[in-house]
Symmetry: C2
Subunit: 371 residues, 2 copies
Amino acid sequence: MHRVGVIGGGQLARMMIQPAVEMGIELRVLAEAPHSSAALVATAIGDYRDSATVLAFAAGVDVITFDHEHVPQDVLAALVAAGATVRPEPAALAVAQDKLVMRERLSALGVPIPAWAAVGDAAALAAFIVAHDGAAVVKTPRGGYDGKGVRVVRDAAEAADWFAAATGPLLAEELVPFRRELAQLVARRPSGEIATWPLVETVQTEGICTEVVAPAPGAADLARSAANLATSIATGLGVTGVLAVELFETDDGRLLVNELAMRPHNSGHWTIDGAVTSQFEQHLRAVLDLPLGDPSAREPWSVMVNVVGGPVGATMPERYPQALAAQPRVKFHSYAKDSRPGRKVGHVTASGDDLDKVRGDARAAAAFFEN
Amino acid sequence: MHRVGVIGGGQLARMMIQPAVEMGIELRVLAEAPHSSAALVATAIGDYRDSATVLAFAAGVDVITFDHEHVPQDVLAALVAAGATVRPEPAALAVAQDKLVMRERLSALGVPIPAWAAVGDAAALAAFIVAHDGAAVVKTPRGGYDGKGVRVVRDAAEAADWFAAATGPLLAEELVPFRRELAQLVARRPSGEIATWPLVETVQTEGICTEVVAPAPGAADLARSAANLATSIATGLGVTGVLAVELFETDDGRLLVNELAMRPHNSGHWTIDGAVTSQFEQHLRAVLDLPLGDPSAREPWSVMVNVVGGPVGATMPERYPQALAAQPRVKFHSYAKDSRPGRKVGHVTASGDDLDKVRGDARAAAAFFEN
């Protein structure tokens, strides 16, 4: 058993190619369109919402996994009914697909999260705002990413358009005063084996993850708590594969879970170059129920900086003559995407002993692909 | 310019896939047959000795490079005449293609090599044997690899079959008493930029490289000489891309050049996991005339052990459940080849602070794929 089928042809599927080739694992991708980021291994092109398309794709592989969490539950049910092995399992994935379901399950597991409520109308939201210091973070339960579907409001009227368009309640959360955002990545096999990477600090810019520092500076005390938290979530929800737990470190030093992702995650891109086992290799191992690799960092510090937008009218490789000359130790990753404002088209990673130098090198390298 | 065409679909072409995907470089391979090791990127299948086949392949890429050194000079000349960029250049490649030409050029460059002669018949070989302590290493000038085409003789009659089949002289070399074999890998851009990896020790078993230790233990004094030697050869021959210089460390402590390879080389497989820039990434950078990456080791010691032969009646991935569980820090590489006695079907690499442990782990990991 070593044929993995990935639904979705984005950069996460693309970055599974390297470990698959390395280990001799056959990787196939069902992409939405031609010229996807993972086009090299796209053996099928079609709509992931269409059961027939997905079933036909699944027939050629041993296990189905995902580049994104948007495959509808009825399609997943059809896969399971047809005998396909789906990892993470549909019941776990359901928790990542709906932010209200996620809060219900995390609350039931006793996981610390911001105060929340399902708000069905403006009056309910207004009451939540009054009860939570005059503000709320409102989220659409489904389909958000990179800051989309998230809005901070101080008046219920600011969410009127979402209520008008919604088919059910919205999620309201307290606006947590936090020092910074962290992320804890973990992988779990069906057998229950767990591996946790070092806790990292993530920096968001306009809702998009732009920088990750591994390990999170000055967070040695929090690291064990974060690893335990992520382990209990992965186990409690029965996740297989990589689980990313996005966290707030609050102003009073607590960890609160912000979001979950059940797939390789931007906060783990540094592991390709900075860890003994990358999140992409680990995800393949986990969904194939193979023993997990060592998730330890290879160097004291790694910093990943996303290339957002990309060079105007150019590709990342067209800037390599300058960028590679300036940063011979930095690792460059292109997702083979055209530049577009706000779009993640690649990332760079620097590693070394001196955090200031590593961060400076990574930022300087990424700057070659701006504008 | 970022489309690289590789002639030959073996594991060296395969291992170029990972850095190509990582950096967003388009890789295309002309493979000899379907189901090659590099099948994922094989856009053409055909005979590399046929000019029309190779010219058609070259039309779709920006630069042509190689998985092996066997492309005939008339085909290379046709490529150049058609305007193709060929790296390494045909004149340099000619030196790697013929061991007699290689000795002539190395002698002219003043590079230390074992005493040698072109021997046209048994009488000439007999005279060479008498003049060199009663033994000679006889080599066919063309087409040898993995110990094939190399024979130690003490009587000229032992090479009678080769003389009978030969269309020209054979190469005779003195049998050098050596402590061990070393290899110095270097990369050179067309612009002249050079990068040298750490000097490594190579262990051959029945003519096949089976183990590489990086850096070569106790060779700090030799390291600078080896790097200078490889640099002068790369520059002197005008090599672009990776050049492997196989060396003897003689019983009296000198370095002698044994063989050259103008492509990524088995002695550099450890760089995938053990160096900041792997030989495969560096080769792509070099042939695209992009700035070279840092060739430094990432950890004090790395040991690569080849998987030769492979598990009988099984593939490497079928042994992963045991192997990965036993060695969570080891990196596993499968070439997607069927097992066959004497065939390199993969390799493993371990890295760390303690050479004995690193070597033990690598050997233990490789042992899961024997028998």
